[in-house]
Protein backbone atom coordinates (compact mmCIF):
# COMPACT_ATOMS: atom_id res chain seq x y z
CA UNK A 1 0.00 0.00 0.00
CA UNK A 2 1.34 3.44 -0.95
CA UNK A 3 2.20 5.76 1.94
CA UNK A 4 -0.51 8.20 0.93
CA UNK A 5 -3.09 5.40 1.11
CA UNK A 6 -1.91 4.38 4.57
CA UNK A 7 -2.20 7.95 5.79
CA UNK A 8 -5.70 8.32 4.40
CA UNK A 9 -6.82 4.93 5.76
CA UNK A 10 -5.57 5.87 9.23
CA UNK A 11 -7.18 9.29 8.98
CA UNK A 12 -10.55 7.85 7.96
CA UNK A 13 -10.33 5.23 10.69
CA UNK A 14 -9.84 7.88 13.38
CA UNK A 15 -12.65 10.01 11.95
CA UNK A 16 -15.08 7.12 11.91
CA UNK A 17 -14.14 5.28 15.08
CA UNK A 18 -13.59 8.25 17.37
CA UNK A 19 -15.78 10.90 15.73
CA UNK A 20 -12.86 13.23 15.06
CA UNK A 21 -13.35 16.18 12.73
CA UNK A 22 -13.64 15.22 9.05
CA UNK A 23 -11.00 17.80 8.25
CA UNK A 24 -8.48 16.06 10.54
CA UNK A 25 -4.99 16.97 9.33
CA UNK A 26 -2.15 14.43 9.24
CA UNK A 27 -0.10 16.49 11.68
CA UNK A 28 -2.89 17.25 14.15
CA UNK A 29 -1.80 16.10 17.59
CA UNK A 30 -4.22 13.51 18.92
CA UNK A 31 -3.22 12.74 22.50
CA UNK A 32 -1.13 15.83 23.35
CA UNK A 33 -4.03 18.06 22.33
CA UNK A 34 -6.59 15.98 24.29
CA UNK A 35 -8.57 14.96 21.18
CA UNK A 36 -8.00 11.43 22.44
CA UNK A 37 -7.02 10.33 25.93
CA UNK A 38 -4.64 7.63 27.00
CA UNK A 39 -7.55 5.25 27.60
CA UNK A 40 -8.14 5.36 23.82
CA UNK A 41 -4.58 4.32 23.10
CA UNK A 42 -5.12 0.56 23.32
CA UNK A 43 -8.14 0.85 21.02
CA UNK A 44 -6.12 2.83 18.47
CA UNK A 45 -3.46 0.13 18.48
CA UNK A 46 -6.06 -2.64 18.08
CA UNK A 47 -7.69 -0.83 15.16
CA UNK A 48 -4.39 -0.20 13.41
CA UNK A 49 -3.51 -3.88 13.80
CA UNK A 50 -6.86 -5.02 12.42
CA UNK A 51 -7.04 -2.59 9.50
CA UNK A 52 -3.39 -2.37 8.50
CA UNK A 53 -2.29 -5.97 9.07
CA UNK A 54 0.65 -5.12 11.30
CA UNK A 55 1.44 -6.70 14.65
CA UNK A 56 2.06 -4.19 17.41
CA UNK A 57 3.04 -5.01 20.94
CA UNK A 58 1.76 -2.24 23.22
CA UNK A 59 5.15 -2.38 24.85
CA UNK A 60 6.94 -1.53 21.58
CA UNK A 61 5.29 1.83 21.00
CA UNK A 62 4.98 5.01 22.99
CA UNK A 63 2.36 7.72 22.94
CA UNK A 64 4.68 9.76 20.77
CA UNK A 65 4.45 7.10 18.02
CA UNK A 66 0.66 7.52 17.87
CA UNK A 67 0.22 11.23 18.47
CA UNK A 68 -0.82 12.13 14.90
CA UNK A 69 -1.93 10.48 11.68
CA UNK A 70 1.48 10.95 10.14
CA UNK A 71 3.26 9.49 13.17
CA UNK A 72 0.95 6.48 13.13
CA UNK A 73 1.75 6.06 9.42
CA UNK A 74 5.46 6.20 10.17
CA UNK A 75 5.03 3.65 12.95
CA UNK A 76 3.13 1.30 10.61
CA UNK A 77 5.88 1.61 7.99
CA UNK A 78 8.53 0.97 10.62
CA UNK A 79 6.82 -2.21 11.83
CA UNK A 80 6.00 -3.67 8.41
Amino acid sequence: MENIDVTETVRQMLIEEFGLDEGLKPDTLLFSSNLLDSLNSIEVISLVEAKMGVRISPLDVSLDDFDSVERITATINRLK
Partner: protein
Protein backbone atom coordinates in the same frame (compact mmCIF):
# COMPACT_ATOMS: atom_id res chain seq x y z
CA UNK B 1 -9.72 14.51 69.73
CA UNK B 2 -8.97 16.82 66.85
CA UNK B 3 -6.59 16.08 64.03
CA UNK B 4 -4.60 17.97 61.44
CA UNK B 5 -3.73 15.74 58.49
CA UNK B 6 -0.60 17.80 57.73
CA UNK B 7 0.68 17.22 61.28
CA UNK B 8 0.13 13.47 60.85
CA UNK B 9 1.98 13.41 57.52
CA UNK B 10 4.87 15.69 58.48
CA UNK B 11 5.42 14.00 61.84
CA UNK B 12 5.98 10.71 60.03
CA UNK B 13 8.94 12.05 58.05
CA UNK B 14 10.95 13.88 60.71
CA UNK B 15 13.80 11.37 60.75
CA UNK B 16 16.35 10.83 57.96
CA UNK B 17 16.01 14.39 56.60
CA UNK B 18 18.00 13.75 53.44
CA UNK B 19 15.91 10.78 52.31
CA UNK B 20 14.05 11.42 49.08
CA UNK B 21 10.33 11.74 49.84
CA UNK B 22 8.41 13.22 46.90
CA UNK B 23 9.23 13.29 43.19
CA UNK B 24 7.44 14.58 40.11
CA UNK B 25 8.59 14.87 36.49
CA UNK B 26 10.74 17.93 37.21
CA UNK B 27 12.29 17.48 40.63
CA UNK B 28 12.76 15.26 43.65
CA UNK B 29 12.51 16.65 47.17
CA UNK B 30 14.18 15.27 50.25
CA UNK B 31 12.28 15.42 53.51
CA UNK B 32 14.34 18.49 54.38
CA UNK B 33 13.55 20.33 51.14
CA UNK B 34 9.88 19.32 51.41
CA UNK B 35 9.75 20.87 54.89
CA UNK B 36 11.53 23.99 53.58
CA UNK B 37 9.08 24.33 50.69
CA UNK B 38 6.02 23.92 52.90
CA UNK B 39 7.35 26.50 55.37
CA UNK B 40 8.08 28.91 52.51
CA UNK B 41 4.63 28.34 51.01
CA UNK B 42 2.95 29.04 54.34
CA UNK B 43 4.77 32.38 54.45
CA UNK B 44 3.47 33.17 50.96
CA UNK B 45 -0.08 32.16 51.86
CA UNK B 46 -0.17 34.22 55.03
CA UNK B 47 1.32 37.24 53.24
CA UNK B 48 -1.59 36.93 50.78
CA UNK B 49 -4.00 36.89 53.75
CA UNK B 50 -5.03 33.26 53.30
CA UNK B 51 -6.08 32.05 56.72
CA UNK B 52 -8.10 29.64 58.80
CA UNK B 53 -11.24 28.27 57.12
CA UNK B 54 -10.51 30.07 53.83
CA UNK B 55 -11.32 28.04 50.74
CA UNK B 56 -8.63 28.02 48.05
CA UNK B 57 -9.09 26.52 44.58
CA UNK B 58 -6.03 24.36 43.96
CA UNK B 59 -5.43 23.08 40.45
CA UNK B 60 -3.75 19.79 39.77
CA UNK B 61 -1.80 19.42 36.49
CA UNK B 62 0.98 21.35 38.28
CA UNK B 63 3.07 18.47 39.58
CA UNK B 64 4.82 19.02 42.91
CA UNK B 65 3.16 22.41 43.51
CA UNK B 66 -0.16 20.64 44.13
CA UNK B 67 1.25 18.63 47.04
CA UNK B 68 3.08 21.62 48.56
CA UNK B 69 -0.16 23.60 48.40
CA UNK B 70 -2.16 20.86 50.09
CA UNK B 71 0.26 20.49 52.99
CA UNK B 72 0.71 24.25 53.51
CA UNK B 73 -3.03 24.95 53.40
CA UNK B 74 -3.77 22.11 55.79
CA UNK B 75 -1.15 23.37 58.26
CA UNK B 76 -2.81 26.79 58.51
CA UNK B 77 -6.34 25.40 58.67
CA UNK B 78 -7.34 26.58 55.19
CA UNK B 79 -9.37 24.39 52.85
CA UNK B 80 -8.12 23.35 49.41
CA UNK B 81 -10.73 22.76 46.72
CA UNK B 82 -9.02 20.30 44.42
CA UNK B 83 -9.92 20.79 40.76
CA UNK B 84 -8.50 19.93 37.36
CA UNK B 85 -7.29 22.86 35.29
CA UNK B 86 -9.84 22.40 32.49
CA UNK B 87 -12.75 22.75 34.90
CA UNK B 88 -16.12 23.29 33.19
CA UNK B 89 -17.45 26.85 33.68
CA UNK B 90 -20.74 25.56 35.09
CA UNK B 91 -18.81 23.49 37.62
CA UNK B 92 -16.68 26.50 38.53
CA UNK B 93 -19.78 28.64 39.06
CA UNK B 94 -21.20 26.00 41.38
CA UNK B 95 -17.94 25.85 43.35
CA UNK B 96 -18.09 29.62 43.90
CA UNK B 97 -21.74 29.46 44.94
CA UNK B 98 -21.10 26.65 47.43
CA UNK B 99 -17.97 28.00 49.08
CA UNK B 100 -17.61 31.74 48.60
CA UNK B 101 -14.01 30.98 47.62
CA UNK B 102 -11.68 33.99 47.27
CA UNK B 103 -8.30 32.50 46.31
CA UNK B 104 -6.91 30.31 43.56
CA UNK B 105 -3.57 28.54 43.28
CA UNK B 106 -3.22 27.63 39.63
CA UNK B 107 0.08 29.18 38.57
CA UNK B 108 1.79 28.65 36.16
CA UNK B 109 -1.62 27.84 34.64
CA UNK B 110 -3.65 31.01 34.10
CA UNK B 111 -6.94 30.98 36.02
CA UNK B 112 -9.90 30.31 33.70
CA UNK B 113 -12.49 33.05 33.15
CA UNK B 114 -14.88 31.52 35.67
CA UNK B 115 -12.31 32.17 38.43
CA UNK B 116 -11.00 35.48 37.10
CA UNK B 117 -12.22 37.48 40.10
CA UNK B 118 -10.38 35.27 42.60
CA UNK B 119 -7.07 36.39 44.06
CA UNK B 120 -4.41 34.39 42.22
CA UNK B 121 -1.65 33.14 44.51
CA UNK B 122 1.91 33.35 43.19
CA UNK B 123 3.67 30.35 41.71
CA UNK B 124 5.97 28.29 43.88
CA UNK B 125 9.57 29.17 43.06
CA UNK B 126 11.44 26.06 44.14
CA UNK B 127 14.81 27.75 43.53
CA UNK B 128 14.01 30.63 45.89
CA UNK B 129 13.29 28.50 48.95
CA UNK B 130 15.83 29.11 51.74
CA UNK B 131 17.79 26.10 52.88
CA UNK B 132 16.55 24.49 56.08
CA UNK B 133 19.36 23.54 58.45
CA UNK B 134 19.50 21.28 61.50
CA UNK B 135 17.06 18.64 62.64
CA UNK B 136 13.52 18.71 61.28
CA UNK B 137 10.91 19.85 63.75
CA UNK B 138 7.16 20.26 63.82
CA UNK B 139 7.73 23.52 65.70
CA UNK B 140 8.37 25.09 62.28
CA UNK B 141 4.66 24.81 61.50
CA UNK B 142 1.77 26.89 62.92
CA UNK B 143 -0.68 23.99 62.94
CA UNK B 144 -4.32 24.93 63.32
CA UNK B 145 -6.59 22.34 64.87
CA UNK B 146 -9.96 23.96 65.22
CA UNK B 147 -12.24 21.80 67.39
CA UNK B 148 -15.29 23.49 65.85
CA UNK B 149 -14.37 22.86 62.24
CA UNK B 150 -12.84 19.63 61.05
CA UNK B 151 -13.21 20.45 57.35
CA UNK B 152 -9.91 19.91 55.51
CA UNK B 153 -11.12 20.69 52.00
CA UNK B 154 -13.38 19.67 49.17
CA UNK B 155 -13.06 17.35 46.26
CA UNK B 156 -15.77 16.75 43.71
CA UNK B 157 -17.44 13.67 42.29
CA UNK B 158 -17.02 12.95 38.58
CA UNK B 159 -20.43 14.40 37.82
CA UNK B 160 -21.55 11.46 35.70
CA UNK B 161 -25.19 12.08 36.58
CA UNK B 162 -25.21 15.87 36.69
CA UNK B 163 -23.22 18.64 38.31
CA UNK B 164 -20.26 17.28 40.29
CA UNK B 165 -21.11 17.02 43.99
CA UNK B 166 -18.82 18.45 46.66
CA UNK B 167 -17.35 15.85 48.97
CA UNK B 168 -16.11 17.29 52.26
CA UNK B 169 -12.79 15.87 53.42
CA UNK B 170 -12.33 16.21 57.15
CA UNK B 171 -9.02 15.99 58.97
CA UNK B 172 -10.41 13.13 61.05
CA UNK B 173 -11.50 11.13 58.01
CA UNK B 174 -8.21 11.69 56.19
CA UNK B 175 -6.09 10.73 59.19
CA UNK B 176 -8.11 7.66 60.18
CA UNK B 177 -8.53 6.40 56.64
CA UNK B 178 -4.81 6.84 55.94
CA UNK B 179 -3.79 5.07 59.14
CA UNK B 180 -6.21 2.19 58.49
CA UNK B 181 -4.99 1.90 54.91
CA UNK B 182 -1.29 2.16 55.73
CA UNK B 183 -1.62 -0.65 58.28
CA UNK B 184 -3.25 -2.90 55.70
CA UNK B 185 -1.10 -2.15 52.64
CA UNK B 186 2.33 -2.84 54.10
CA UNK B 187 4.48 -0.39 52.17
CA UNK B 188 8.07 -0.34 53.40
CA UNK B 189 10.39 2.65 54.00
CA UNK B 190 12.63 1.61 51.11
CA UNK B 191 9.70 1.44 48.70
CA UNK B 192 9.13 3.97 45.95
CA UNK B 193 5.49 4.18 44.93
CA UNK B 194 4.32 5.58 41.60
CA UNK B 195 0.90 6.89 40.59
CA UNK B 196 -0.19 8.02 37.11
CA UNK B 197 -3.66 9.38 37.87
CA UNK B 198 -4.82 13.00 38.18
CA UNK B 199 -3.67 14.34 41.52
CA UNK B 200 -7.09 15.75 42.43
CA UNK B 201 -8.55 12.22 42.70
CA UNK B 202 -9.03 10.90 46.23
CA UNK B 203 -7.09 7.83 45.18
CA UNK B 204 -4.03 9.98 44.38
CA UNK B 205 -4.35 12.00 47.58
CA UNK B 206 -4.69 8.80 49.59
CA UNK B 207 -1.60 7.31 47.91
CA UNK B 208 0.38 10.47 48.68
CA UNK B 209 -0.58 10.47 52.36
CA UNK B 210 -0.23 6.73 52.91
CA UNK B 211 3.15 6.59 51.16
CA UNK B 212 4.57 9.33 53.37
CA UNK B 213 3.03 7.77 56.50
CA UNK B 214 4.75 4.53 55.57
CA UNK B 215 8.11 6.28 55.30
CA UNK B 216 8.33 5.40 51.61
CA UNK B 217 9.01 7.67 48.60
CA UNK B 218 6.20 8.98 46.42
CA UNK B 219 6.49 9.62 42.68
CA UNK B 220 3.50 11.06 40.83
CA UNK B 221 3.12 11.90 37.16
CA UNK B 222 0.21 13.52 35.37
CA UNK B 223 1.61 12.72 31.91
CA UNK B 224 -0.52 10.67 29.56
CA UNK B 225 1.15 7.27 29.39
CA UNK B 226 0.64 4.44 26.96
CA UNK B 227 1.68 0.96 28.04
CA UNK B 228 5.26 1.33 26.82
CA UNK B 229 5.60 4.76 28.42
CA UNK B 230 4.31 3.42 31.73
CA UNK B 231 6.70 0.46 31.66
CA UNK B 232 9.61 2.74 30.72
CA UNK B 233 8.78 5.11 33.57
CA UNK B 234 8.43 2.30 36.11
CA UNK B 235 11.86 1.02 35.10
CA UNK B 236 13.63 4.37 34.83
CA UNK B 237 12.41 5.50 38.26
CA UNK B 238 13.21 2.14 39.94
CA UNK B 239 9.63 1.90 41.14
CA UNK B 240 8.94 -0.86 43.67
CA UNK B 241 5.23 -0.17 44.13
CA UNK B 242 2.53 1.00 41.75
CA UNK B 243 -0.94 2.29 42.55
CA UNK B 244 -3.42 2.59 39.70
CA UNK B 245 -6.52 1.26 38.02
CA UNK B 246 -7.16 -2.24 36.64
CA UNK B 247 -6.37 -0.67 33.24
CA UNK B 248 -2.84 0.14 34.46
CA UNK B 249 -2.53 -3.29 36.07
CA UNK B 250 -3.41 -4.83 32.71
CA UNK B 251 -0.62 -2.84 31.06
CA UNK B 252 1.92 -3.97 33.65
CA UNK B 253 0.82 -7.60 33.35
CA UNK B 254 2.08 -7.58 29.75
CA UNK B 255 5.69 -7.18 30.81
CA UNK B 256 7.65 -9.21 33.36
CA UNK B 257 10.14 -9.23 36.18
CA UNK B 258 13.11 -9.16 33.77
CA UNK B 259 11.97 -5.74 32.53
CA UNK B 260 10.89 -4.44 35.93
CA UNK B 261 13.11 -6.19 38.48
CA UNK B 262 12.30 -3.67 41.24
CA UNK B 263 8.51 -4.02 41.12
CA UNK B 264 7.32 -5.99 44.14
CA UNK B 265 3.92 -4.45 45.04
CA UNK B 266 0.86 -3.34 43.13
CA UNK B 267 -2.40 -1.83 44.23
CA UNK B 268 -5.42 -1.79 41.96
CA UNK B 269 -8.39 0.42 42.77
CA UNK B 270 -11.26 2.05 40.94
CA UNK B 271 -12.88 -1.11 39.67
CA UNK B 272 -12.91 -4.90 39.80
CA UNK B 273 -9.48 -6.37 38.93
CA UNK B 274 -10.14 -9.09 36.33
CA UNK B 275 -9.02 -12.60 37.23
CA UNK B 276 -6.99 -12.99 34.03
CA UNK B 277 -5.00 -9.87 34.88
CA UNK B 278 -4.27 -11.28 38.36
CA UNK B 279 -3.11 -14.54 36.77
CA UNK B 280 -0.91 -12.74 34.23
CA UNK B 281 0.63 -10.59 36.98
CA UNK B 282 1.43 -13.64 39.10
CA UNK B 283 2.98 -15.38 36.11
CA UNK B 284 5.02 -12.34 35.11
CA UNK B 285 6.02 -11.33 38.65
CA UNK B 286 6.00 -14.52 40.77
CA UNK B 287 6.51 -12.75 44.11
CA UNK B 288 4.46 -9.61 43.52
CA UNK B 289 2.14 -8.45 46.31
CA UNK B 290 -1.20 -7.53 44.74
CA UNK B 291 -3.62 -5.44 46.77
CA UNK B 292 -7.11 -5.08 45.30
CA UNK B 293 -8.85 -2.13 46.82
CA UNK B 294 -12.31 -0.61 46.76
CA UNK B 295 -12.50 3.03 47.71
CA UNK B 296 -14.46 6.18 47.15
CA UNK B 297 -14.16 9.91 47.59
CA UNK B 298 -17.03 9.97 50.08
CA UNK B 299 -14.99 7.88 52.54
CA UNK B 300 -11.80 9.96 52.18
CA UNK B 301 -9.93 7.17 50.48
CA UNK B 302 -10.15 3.44 50.84
CA UNK B 303 -13.07 1.33 51.98
CA UNK B 304 -12.13 -2.32 51.52
CA UNK B 305 -8.88 -4.07 50.72
CA UNK B 306 -7.99 -7.63 49.82
CA UNK B 307 -4.50 -8.28 51.17
CA UNK B 308 -2.01 -10.09 48.91
CA UNK B 309 -2.09 -13.31 50.92
CA UNK B 310 -5.76 -13.79 49.97
CA UNK B 311 -5.58 -12.75 46.31
CA UNK B 312 -5.01 -16.22 44.84
CA UNK B 313 -7.74 -17.80 46.98
CA UNK B 314 -10.31 -15.02 46.56
CA UNK B 315 -9.63 -13.71 43.04
CA UNK B 316 -12.07 -11.01 42.06
CA UNK B 317 -12.88 -10.00 45.64
CA UNK B 318 -12.13 -6.57 47.11
CA UNK B 319 -11.71 -8.04 50.59
CA UNK B 320 -13.07 -6.49 53.73
CA UNK B 321 -13.24 -2.99 55.25
CA UNK B 322 -10.28 -1.16 56.71
CA UNK B 323 -10.30 -0.31 60.39
CA UNK B 324 -12.90 2.34 61.20
CA UNK B 325 -15.37 1.33 58.49
CA UNK B 326 -18.12 -1.25 58.38
CA UNK B 327 -20.07 -2.41 55.36
CA UNK B 328 -23.64 -3.62 55.25
CA UNK B 329 -25.33 -5.41 52.35
CA UNK B 330 -29.11 -5.12 52.23
CA UNK B 331 -31.57 -6.91 49.95
CA UNK B 332 -34.76 -5.43 48.48
CA UNK B 333 -36.55 -5.98 51.82
CA UNK B 334 -33.87 -3.98 53.64
CA UNK B 335 -32.70 -7.15 55.35
CA UNK B 336 -29.05 -8.09 55.66
CA UNK B 337 -28.01 -10.37 52.82
CA UNK B 338 -27.04 -14.00 53.25
CA UNK B 339 -23.74 -15.21 51.82
CA UNK B 340 -23.74 -15.05 47.99
CA UNK B 341 -26.92 -12.94 47.95
CA UNK B 342 -26.52 -9.74 45.95
CA UNK B 343 -27.56 -6.57 47.73
CA UNK B 344 -27.05 -2.81 47.97
CA UNK B 345 -23.89 -1.72 49.72
CA UNK B 346 -23.89 0.74 52.63
CA UNK B 347 -20.91 2.17 54.54
CA UNK B 348 -20.84 3.29 58.14
CA UNK B 349 -18.37 3.55 60.99
CA UNK B 350 -16.14 6.04 62.73
CA UNK B 351 -14.95 7.43 59.36
CA UNK B 352 -18.57 8.03 58.36
CA UNK B 353 -19.36 10.21 55.36
CA UNK B 354 -20.89 13.48 56.62
CA UNK B 355 -22.91 14.05 53.43
CA UNK B 356 -22.33 16.04 50.25
CA UNK B 357 -21.41 19.66 50.85
CA UNK B 358 -24.52 21.85 50.98
CA UNK B 359 -26.51 19.47 48.81
CA UNK B 360 -29.68 18.40 50.64
CA UNK B 361 -31.25 16.84 47.54
CA UNK B 362 -28.31 14.50 46.98
CA UNK B 363 -28.01 13.70 50.67
CA UNK B 364 -31.64 12.70 50.89
CA UNK B 365 -30.90 9.91 48.41
CA UNK B 366 -27.75 8.53 50.00
CA UNK B 367 -27.76 9.29 53.74
CA UNK B 368 -29.87 6.54 55.31
CA UNK B 369 -30.39 4.97 58.73
CA UNK B 370 -28.25 2.06 57.47
CA UNK B 371 -25.36 4.37 56.61
CA UNK B 372 -24.13 5.92 53.38
CA UNK B 373 -25.70 4.27 50.33
CA UNK B 374 -22.72 3.79 48.02
CA UNK B 375 -24.71 3.03 44.87
CA UNK B 376 -22.71 -0.17 44.40
CA UNK B 377 -24.10 -3.67 44.62
CA UNK B 378 -22.27 -6.82 45.59
CA UNK B 379 -22.23 -9.96 47.71
CA UNK B 380 -20.22 -11.66 50.43
CA UNK B 381 -18.67 -15.01 49.60
CA UNK B 382 -18.81 -17.71 52.25
CA UNK B 383 -15.59 -16.40 53.79
CA UNK B 384 -17.15 -12.96 54.24
CA UNK B 385 -15.09 -11.32 51.48
CA UNK B 386 -16.87 -8.69 49.40
CA UNK B 387 -17.34 -9.07 45.64
CA UNK B 388 -18.63 -6.10 43.64
CA UNK B 389 -21.31 -6.82 41.03
CA UNK B 390 -21.83 -3.36 39.55
CA UNK B 391 -23.88 -0.28 40.21
CA UNK B 392 -27.49 -0.04 41.32
CA UNK B 393 -28.15 2.80 38.88
CA UNK B 394 -27.15 3.46 35.29
CA UNK B 395 -23.54 4.12 36.22
CA UNK B 396 -20.77 1.69 35.30
CA UNK B 397 -17.00 1.76 35.20
CA UNK B 398 -15.09 2.13 31.92
CA UNK B 399 -11.35 1.69 32.39
CA UNK B 400 -11.85 2.50 36.06
CA UNK B 401 -13.77 5.73 35.48
CA UNK B 402 -17.46 6.18 36.18
CA UNK B 403 -19.70 6.52 33.12
CA UNK B 404 -23.44 7.10 33.16
CA UNK B 405 -25.42 5.45 30.37
CA UNK B 406 -28.30 7.78 31.25
CA UNK B 407 -26.19 10.87 30.55
CA UNK B 408 -25.19 9.45 27.16
CA UNK B 409 -28.79 8.50 26.32
CA UNK B 410 -29.95 12.03 27.22
CA UNK B 411 -27.20 13.61 25.11
CA UNK B 412 -28.16 11.50 22.06
CA UNK B 413 -31.86 12.17 22.55
CA UNK B 414 -31.13 15.90 22.66
CA UNK B 415 -29.63 15.65 19.16
CA UNK B 416 -33.04 14.52 17.88
CA UNK B 417 -31.51 12.14 15.36
CA UNK B 418 -33.43 8.94 16.03
CA UNK B 419 -36.98 7.78 16.73
CA UNK B 420 -35.82 6.16 19.94
CA UNK B 421 -32.49 5.41 21.56
CA UNK B 422 -31.07 3.68 24.60
CA UNK B 423 -27.48 3.35 25.78
CA UNK B 424 -26.49 0.23 27.69
CA UNK B 425 -23.12 -1.04 28.79
CA UNK B 426 -21.55 -4.28 27.62
CA UNK B 427 -18.44 -6.14 28.66
CA UNK B 428 -15.22 -5.29 26.89
CA UNK B 429 -11.98 -7.25 27.12
CA UNK B 430 -9.85 -4.12 27.35
CA UNK B 431 -11.93 -1.49 29.10
CA UNK B 432 -14.09 -3.55 31.47
CA UNK B 433 -17.42 -2.18 30.32
CA UNK B 434 -18.19 0.17 27.43
CA UNK B 435 -21.32 2.08 26.38
CA UNK B 436 -23.21 0.94 23.30
CA UNK B 437 -25.93 3.08 21.67
CA UNK B 438 -28.97 1.22 20.30
CA UNK B 439 -31.00 3.39 17.97
CA UNK B 440 -34.31 3.00 16.14
CA UNK B 441 -34.61 5.14 13.03
CA UNK B 442 -36.10 5.11 9.52
CA UNK B 443 -32.75 6.37 8.30
CA UNK B 444 -29.66 4.43 9.26
CA UNK B 445 -27.19 6.42 7.18
CA UNK B 446 -25.61 8.21 10.13
CA UNK B 447 -22.40 6.37 10.99
CA UNK B 448 -20.87 5.92 14.41
CA UNK B 449 -18.27 8.56 13.55
CA UNK B 450 -21.00 11.00 12.54
CA UNK B 451 -22.80 10.45 15.82
CA UNK B 452 -19.62 10.82 17.88
CA UNK B 453 -18.75 14.07 16.11
CA UNK B 454 -22.07 15.52 17.22
CA UNK B 455 -21.64 14.19 20.75
CA UNK B 456 -18.06 15.34 21.28
CA UNK B 457 -18.99 18.93 22.26
CA UNK B 458 -21.35 17.58 24.92
CA UNK B 459 -19.70 14.49 26.39
CA UNK B 460 -16.36 13.53 27.90
CA UNK B 461 -14.20 11.12 25.88
CA UNK B 462 -15.01 8.17 28.13
CA UNK B 463 -18.75 8.75 27.59
CA UNK B 464 -18.55 8.37 23.79
CA UNK B 465 -20.27 5.12 22.72
CA UNK B 466 -18.02 2.32 21.54
CA UNK B 467 -20.64 1.17 19.03
CA UNK B 468 -23.83 2.35 17.34
CA UNK B 469 -26.31 -0.41 16.57
CA UNK B 470 -29.47 0.20 14.56
CA UNK B 471 -32.55 -1.78 15.51
CA UNK B 472 -36.05 -1.79 13.99
CA UNK B 473 -37.42 -0.65 17.35
CA UNK B 474 -36.35 -0.24 20.96
CA UNK B 475 -38.60 -2.72 22.80
CA UNK B 476 -40.13 -1.22 25.93
CA UNK B 477 -42.40 -2.45 28.70
CA UNK B 478 -45.78 -0.93 29.46
CA UNK B 479 -44.17 1.44 31.91
CA UNK B 480 -41.72 2.62 29.26
CA UNK B 481 -38.67 0.79 30.58
CA UNK B 482 -36.46 -0.89 28.03
CA UNK B 483 -37.12 -4.61 27.78
CA UNK B 484 -33.52 -5.74 27.73
CA UNK B 485 -34.35 -9.37 26.99
CA UNK B 486 -36.23 -8.44 23.83
CA UNK B 487 -33.63 -5.87 22.88
CA UNK B 488 -30.80 -8.40 23.07
CA UNK B 489 -32.95 -10.85 21.06
CA UNK B 490 -33.23 -8.19 18.33
CA UNK B 491 -29.48 -7.67 18.42
CA UNK B 492 -28.91 -11.41 18.08
CA UNK B 493 -31.23 -11.49 15.06
CA UNK B 494 -29.27 -8.81 13.21
CA UNK B 495 -27.30 -9.99 10.17
CA UNK B 496 -23.66 -10.54 11.20
Amino acid sequence: MTYNIARTVLSSILAAPDKEVVEDDHRALSRRTLFANVIHRIETLTSCNVGVEDFVVVFCDRGMSFWIDLLALWVIGARPICLESNVEPVHGENVKKLTDVKFISSSPIAPPAVFSELTALPDIDFDAVPELLGALSLKSFPFVQDPDSDLAGLIFTSGTTGLPKGVPLTHTMLVQNALGTATRLGLRPNDKLMIATPFRFISSISHFIVTLLSGATFYGTEDKLMAADLIDRLGAKHITSFGGSPFHAGMISRTNIDTLPHLRWLMSSGDHLPVDVIDRLHNAFPNIKINTVYGMAELAGRFCCLPPEFVKEHKGSVGYPISGLELVLLNDEDEECEYNEIGALYARGTIAFPGYYKNAAANEKVMTPHGFKTGDVGYFDTSGFLHLSGRSDSVFKRSGLKVSSQVITDAILALNLFDDVIVLSREDAIEGRVPVAYAASQDSSLTKGGLLRQLRPHLANNHLPKALIYLPTIPRTGSGKVDRRKLYALVEALPK
